[in-house]
């Protein structure tokens, strides 16, 4: 085990807003008067709540049709997975891959990654802290890109509104999926990555 060189170990708290280091027992920042916390308060609890909400909504997001594309009066509602298969069927493999990554892989990776982070921190799993910090960074970065699908649907719904010729109708899964993305983004921000390093069993 390696000696922690964090600010907390040296009896210091960093202000969230102005970044100034204060003594441990200081309640509020001497510069900007904001409340001082050694770590994001209730970070694990909040993240866990958000991640669980994400899981719950991920289910309807994949079970229900995300959109109905009507061409000349006909068309069936597609689920996300169904849409990917439809894209493969119409020989649009690259687009199918994009949708697969943006709509399936990214949310799943995010949810699973956050879950693992939470579990590793809570149960003090011996993990590679550096590696998981990178994972966390990726999760935080990639979060918004899952909205690709939702953006596409919103644009399509408003643009492709040609009455009987072609029409795109968003399904209930779209809302659920958007909620999943938003919730995971919040979960990522509410997770304090410093907690990874606070794990005594973690190694570098």
């Amino acid at each position: 085990m390696k000696t922690k060189a964090g600010a907390l170990n040296q009896g210091l708290i960093r202000c969230h807003d102005c970044g100034i280091l204060s003594q441990l027992n200081t309640h509020s920042c001497p510069v900007c008067a904001s409340h001082l916390h050694a770590r994001l308060p209730h970070s694990l609890q909040r993240t866990a709540a958000l991640v669980i909400s994400g899981y719950t909504l991920y289910l309807p997001a994949n079970l229900f049709p995300i959109m109905t594309v009507t061409r000349l009066g006909t068309g069936e509602p597609h689920t996300i997975v169904g849409g990917i298969f439809a894209l493969i069927d119409s020989d649009m493999v690259p687009v199918a891959l994009l949708v697969l990554v943006a709509s399936i892989l990214v949310p799943v990776i995010k949810l699973l990654g956050l879950t693992l982070l939470l579990l590793s921190v809570h149960f003090r799993w011996p993990i590679n802290a550096r590696f998981w910090t990178i994972i966390y960074r990726i999760i935080a970065f990639v979060g918004r890109w899952s909205m690709l699908d939702i953006f596409m649907i919103t644009i399509l719904v408003s643009l492709v509104n040609l009455g009987g010729v072609a029409q795109v109708i968003a399904g209930p899964a779209a809302t659920a999926f958007a909620s999943v993305v938003v919730l995971t983004m919040f979960a990522a921000t509410s997770f304090d990555p410093r907690l990874i390093w606070d794990n005594p069993n973690a190694y570098d």
């Binding site: 922690k4 907390l8 170990n9 009896g11 708290i13 441990l24 027992n25 309640h27 409340h35 001082l36 916390h37 050694a38 770590r39 308060p41 209730h42 970070s43 694990l44 609890q45 909040r46 866990a48 709540a49 958000l50 669980i52 909400s53 994400g54 719950t56 909504l57 289910l59 309807p60 079970l63 229900f64 061409r71 000349l72 009066g73 006909t74 069936e76 921190v121 809570h122 209930p172 659920a176 909620s179 919730l183 907690l195 606070d198 794990n199 005594p200």
Partner: protein
Amino acid sequence: MTDFNDPINDVSDAVINKRAELPLVWFLPIVALLVSGWLISKAMMEKGPEITINFPSADGLEVDKTKIKFLDVEIGKVTAISINDDLKTIQVSAQMSKNADDYLKENTTFWVVRPQVGLSGISGLGTLLSGAYIAMKPGDGESKSDFVGLVTAPPIRANAEGKQFILDANNLGSLRAGTPINFHGISVGSVLNHELTKDADAIRLTIFINKPYDQFVRKNTRFWIDSGIDLSAGAEGFKVRTGPLSSLLSGGIAFRNDPDDPIDSIQAENTSYPLYDTYEQSTQIIYNNTLRYVMYFKGSVRGLTVGAPVQLRGIPVGKVVHIDLELDESTKDIQVPVTIELELERIHKVNQQANLSDKDIMSQLINKGLRAQLQTGSLLTGQLLVDLDFYPKIPIVPNDNKSIYPEFPTTANSMDQFTHSANIIMDKIAKLPLDNLTDEINKTLQSLQGTSKAAKDMLVTAKGTLNTTDKTMNSAQKVLTTLEPGASTHYELEKLLQELTRAAGSVKQLTDYLEQHPDSLLKGKEGD
């Protein structure tokens, strides 16, 4: 779950943060759970029973795509298609929606709707793009989940209001299920199906008339095939009738009700009507009291057809119902018996007399000289009609009538008479000794030639004579000049004439005397 506190650095900044985190954040997963739970349970609730339908073929059916519709509302979806063990039919499994539960009964029927492009129009156009779908017609009976699909759509649409009627036709022609039925040109229904009657002598068409037009199908309503262009060339000349454009292409049925039909004679469902082949036929009134006669015409009846009118002074009173050709094997005589039907109800009778049947009237009329003759109805088509009129002078020549009907005396028609006379004339011309005639004419001509020659000679002589005459005339002139008054010769001549007159008088006296006294010639004058 609690926040992680480093056990090594048991540094507590928790003085202010020891308050338990408000459990508000845990509402979020609860709400999410509720929402997704509600969504999923709602979807589960909407899921109805799973059914299976057997079809002869899966043409156009696709898993997860083909829908089951009732009144164009989607009530289910095909989830699987498999081949049955008999290797002849397929089984379609379908997930029905919750509200379809009430329709899935014993008599519920399913059939596949595919796009159909026919002359009468396009049906199921939507299925061109969406693919075929399975249509359902709810039935009654016990609940059921295994069905046998129909090969063709059932006759009635599930919900349409109206009435079903039966039409009896001789020939299906271009009539099909879906053939429109027009009422004054409005499409008011269609043919549902057609079937051969049990004894295979007619076609029974089941038709459906939509509300509110079904009320016009009454007691004396007539249906006829309103097919395309009806070009009829009958004894009355050419006639062209056309129906609506759609029936022009594919045929149709039209009907018309009798304005005299009261509103209470609206007919019940499944009433049977005859289907007339043409509009013409449907307009003919059906007379029940008819008299049949058989007629024997001399010569050809070419142009006379069954149905040709029988006219009395130009007004139709009946029609030809049968034309036969008879050969008497013993005498080798050929006869053409033409059976006609007289509809005497068409004749308006005045001064009616009781106990006088139609038959009696007819025999009296025949005795009065009523005869039938063939007449050309239309010179263009050469169609014949039977004309009745009075020819009291023409005797009744009975024929060898083998039919069950009484014979109606006939007479040759004016054209026949004309040709007959013409024949006679031609015969006479043929009989003329034309050879002799020409011989004689030749001779005459030859003698004429001689005569003309003689005449020529004569003329030459005449010319000489004329010259002599000229000279004579000149001499006469000279003589006459000498005889002019005043001339001495003239005087002498006058004198001479006087003398001659006197002499003549004497001679007269003498002759008179001699006449009276012829004896004086012998005896001389008496009394001197």
